[in-house]
């Protein structure tokens, strides 16, 4: 998606066409996710791919649809703190419960 003609609305929000394009990309990524799931050849690499796809979709919705890309950094800080604390704390807990080994 081109960065250039993002701002067409005086309040700095993306245009409707922009939203539709982002939605199509998200739909495409979901299709890729399901497709990758069925390709047996990628068994060993499946989990990293799925995680990357999920993170991409997550950040796209957050940045575009939730306007984190256009709004004040304060909102981003609040949300990202919650995510980072959750990920770190639960990763430590799950690893000490030997979920990954």
């Amino acid at each position: 998606m081109t960065e250039a003609e993002v701002v067409t609305h005086e309040t700095g929000h993306p245009s409707e066409a922009q939203y539709v394009r982002v939605a199509l990309i998200l739909a495409g990524l979901t299709a890729v996710e399901v497709a990758v799931y069925y390709i047996s050849g990628l068994k060993k690499v499946l989990i990293p791919i799925l995680l990357v796809l999920a993170t991409t979709k997550f950040s796209m919705v957050a940045l575009w649809f939730m306007h984190l890309k256009f709004d004040s950094r304060m909102f981003r800080r609040l949300f990202v703190t919650g995510i980072v604390v959750a990920i770190i704390v639960y990763l430590i807990a799950l690893s000490s419960l030997h979920v990954f080994s």
Binding site: T30, D71, L94
Partner: protein
Amino acid sequence: MTATGVVVEDTGHGAAEAHAAHVTSTGLSNVKIAMWAFLGSECLLFGALISTYLLYRGKSMVGPYPKDVYDIPYTSVSSFVLLMSSLTMVLALAAIQRGDHRRLRVWLLATALLGSTFIGGQAYEFTTFYREGLSLHRNLFGSSFFVLTGFHGAHVTIGILMLLSLFSLSLRGKLPTSKAETVELVGLYWHFVDVVWIVIFTLIYLVPSK
């Protein structure tokens, strides 16, 4: 807790004095900071539920196991539906920011319908699993799956309730353009619930169970 009961009196057009209470230190609106703080804490809530599922993955003593019940194509369709509801939600917000109240109501209804389709899909999936012997009481998979997706479903249902309330308020002319922020808040909540489903769909359905 969705209703934030804020008393930021809408100065709207021409209200004379600007009270200090309405001029905020960061220039951002109180309710939006509150909503983002709330969404930050919700990450911890869904994080705990997802971690419980990941901990108990592959530890059920008895069937049915994820492989026996999961229908990936079916769930990916309902994921697509929820994803598209995020699009209609953001279009609804764009509509009210432009002052196009008719289009606002169309997109609000579309979002609520897509959300209801998703919930319908979940309900159908739950009954199918239940008929196949999976229940809260059956095994660890049943407990952790139903509680996680059930919590998410409850959040989506609350979202649909809010969307329908916005729709009826707009119908009765009680949602003026100056109140666009209310739609934005409901939008933030709705996108968050969609984003959580993105994580759930990948970690719970797609990542194969041990």
